[in-house]
Symmetry: D2
Subunit: 267 residues, 4 copies
């Protein structure tokens, strides 16, 4: 299985300022970068740092004026996909220290406030079955509505307004998983089948696969139903969208345009 | 310089559930644990994991009913205290990858919304002088008011209501530092002089000390003015209070009581 | 049907300041005040003004120090109780101008954000049947939990946290009714059967009773199920709790204690 | 002094639904409608009701598909403009009952949370001088920034973000006035000089003019500085923008376009 990605986006910085980009397919065991080409406008400074959990890289820029990003890549995927229903919850004391941070409230996923709702609505399920029930609840109760949410929208807002885009679906799943004491993180990704084509986002939950050894594995879950985990190319992960935006601007910034094309290689 | 700490707290779990504790002085280069004694009520499970940034440990418990924690320690401190005004801002591309997460919005510190305020109010300062100006602004504009805030209170709330406790002062400083593109984290700590005596919280900012080599150091800042950085014993750090509470409960929990005594050893 | 009410409450004003009280049974056609006795501590000024929609009176006080209120009354009730299911929705253009304000968002009832939820969940009902469905949904999904909410809690919070007290139940019903284009207001009241005994709050919705002439009537609805509309003594009404608190303080105020006893006369 | 107004706006209702419009100059003693012409697309129902405080009219429509509104008017103004600094605060017990509602928290103006800020920042002023100080503080600390706020933005948001448009400036002034125990309401209006030309909004505060008899008068205040009170044509008033939008939709609605031209007659 291999995926072809073509992305362009551009923005304008009215004053010279710092910008953080994260848009490239991450080089991780389950993803082999067959080829990749990144083109950036000129900048005063440009530096790469490892991104969160060492998945992918962030690019620091210091630049002014119009800035263009162009990225093409081919990525071979070999991801272990478990049957969600067969996965077991880890007891908290069995979790590795690095998973624990993904139980905590974050900017867009204030999980603790969903405690009663989660207990009452999903109380009879556990582990992977709980996550599947949460995913299905979101799919049944939300309407995919481009334009109805924005960069300040969090899981509380979406839970009330019942509509949004992939980012909002992922935030809700992350929040409800954490309220179930299941570590959950936000994954920025590319995936074929996203409609309209765009950067995509899904959730990832930390569960125990009885088939494999060791303390747990991260499993992709897409409450929008648009992305097949086997065909999803990870860009990066974080506690929520605040950590892993394709463009984080430290100063005024005017977004101009973007285009994203993702397909199965050979199609 | 050595500090003596005596802490007790207790809570009741109506059902058997998971609880995360973090209340012990962290064993880190700048803090030597001379002696320590932790006593916990019986539990089904009890496990220790490294806490965030490897500063201190978290204790996972699974227990039910009344639970008591008692902790005594003596800690020698040898912390390098820089003159805040002499510290320089790091350019983002000079920051190590692990500092970058402390620029992002978190649950209680949604920094990006303060951008205009920070530019207009502190625009003429930079680096350590900027942090000192923020600290002084908070001290001048907030009233220390126990009881006026709660566990859901974040920096946005406190900025509006202009009152709160150490947690709220630290959240505001963290948010305004991040809005200045200065990495900032939240520090749970013990310190003599806190009035009324209690667990304390301060902020820590990542700045460049021209006196030392390398890319930057974390410096403690207390906007309440109650804690002397040279006498502050760190328990742990996080993006904000969501990461480093002394008691995080995954399930219903009734807090019963706490007492904290902190003094200079020998006094 | 007659109701006996005994109320005391007291508070402390650290500085001389203005306070608004509204705690007396309203003299309105459906409620006859058989007897009433109000005792107030001394004040610099004391004035009565008609309360919202001319239902009950507000008392303005200017006072300092400890202030005590004592109120006893006997009230005969003769309220027309319609069968909720038989009531019809009024078309907006049939509504009197004074009902229209109760369609708008208010402090604790930002109704417009519930539009999608209401359409999806209650879309097959209308008029009184819609209100009954909303009331039952709240009763099924909320847990009555004294102490879990506070004076800043609004319908958005309660919808997320799924727990609260009478105030929170009423706010949710008001918000969901307005999102259904049914005017709804908040009613402060006394009622026997409230447990624990306290000031009570319910909602009131404006619907068309085919049995009576004219454009619509207000009907009491209690999502907590504790108060019988036939035995509910109205104190006042408003858009939400912000309008009709028993105690609104313009300046610092320390609440000391309250006691409320309400019973059927003769019992 | 006479003002000429030309307005068009249009929107699309995907399904037949109810819409409330309020866009015409109010016929009130201080405003004489010299001529007016309103043209509306066809609708199933159309009804006029008196608007809040009997200032202007609301138009209820039931319609589907594209809907166009066109309005032209000439309005003579004869408004008593007091010198703000000379106006005195009314004691609460001197306020008429109908002004009291404008002290309470509303959807976009949760005034009580600003109590400490108001006391600390404006504590040395009172009455009209207080309002002038609040107006100047807003003008000094906010940046007029079209596009930075939206229909969900309230005074809390704007106080944090320090930027917005007329609606946001008015909400802040209303909130800070109420936190000063001065009744304040939101005024939708037309005014020459608004840039870019659009529907405008200002605040109105209830103060005592020693020059006139009686309990108080409403005075227009524009924190944006764009509208001259003597040249401002009131459309309607409310507790905040939730009450007096030119277009309130009860159901899905897609805004298409608007144009507003306001000038001094003869210019």
């Amino acid at each position: 299985m291999a995926i072809a990605i073509e992305t362009q986006f551009s923005f304008r910085l009215p004053r010279t300022s710092d910008v953080l980009l994260q848009f490239e397919a991450a080089a991780i065991p389950e993803q082999t970068i067959l080829s990749a080409n990144t083109e950036l406008s000129d900048s005063e400074h440009c530096a790469r740092v490892a991104a969160q959990d060492d998945i992918g890289e962030r690019i620091w820029l210091r630049a002014g004026g119009e800035f263009n990003v162009s990225y093409n890549a081919e990525v071979a995927l070999d991801r272990q996909i478990a049957d969600l229903g067969s996965l077991k919850r880890l007891m908290p004391h069995e979790m590795p220290g690095e998973a624990v941070q993904y139980l905590f409230d974050s900017r867009y996923c204030p999980a603790d406030r969903f405690q009663t709702f989660v207990d009452d609505t999903f109380g009879e399920t556990d582990g992977g079955a709980r996550i599947a029930a949460i995913r299905d609840w979101i799919a049944d109760n939300y309407r995919y509505t481009p334009g109805a949410s924005g960069p300040q929208t969090g899981a509380l807002d979406t839970f009330i307004e019942r509509r949004g885009i992939c980012r909002d679906y992922a935030h809700t799943l992350v929040a409800l998983a954490r309220a179930s004491t299941i570590p959950a993180r936000y994954v920025a990704c590319y995936a074929p089948g996203v409609d309209p084509p765009d950067f995509h986002a899904v959730a990832e939950v930390f569960l125990n696969d009885p088939e494999t050894e060791g303390g747990g594995t991260w499993q992709l879950v897409d409450a929008t139903g648009m992305a097949d985990p086997a065909q999803t190319v990870k860009i990066g992960v974080g506690r929520d969208a605040a950590d892993v935006s394709f463009l984080t601007s430290f100063g005024a910034n005017q977004f101009l345009s973007s285009s994203v094309r993702v397909g199965l290689l050979g199609e």
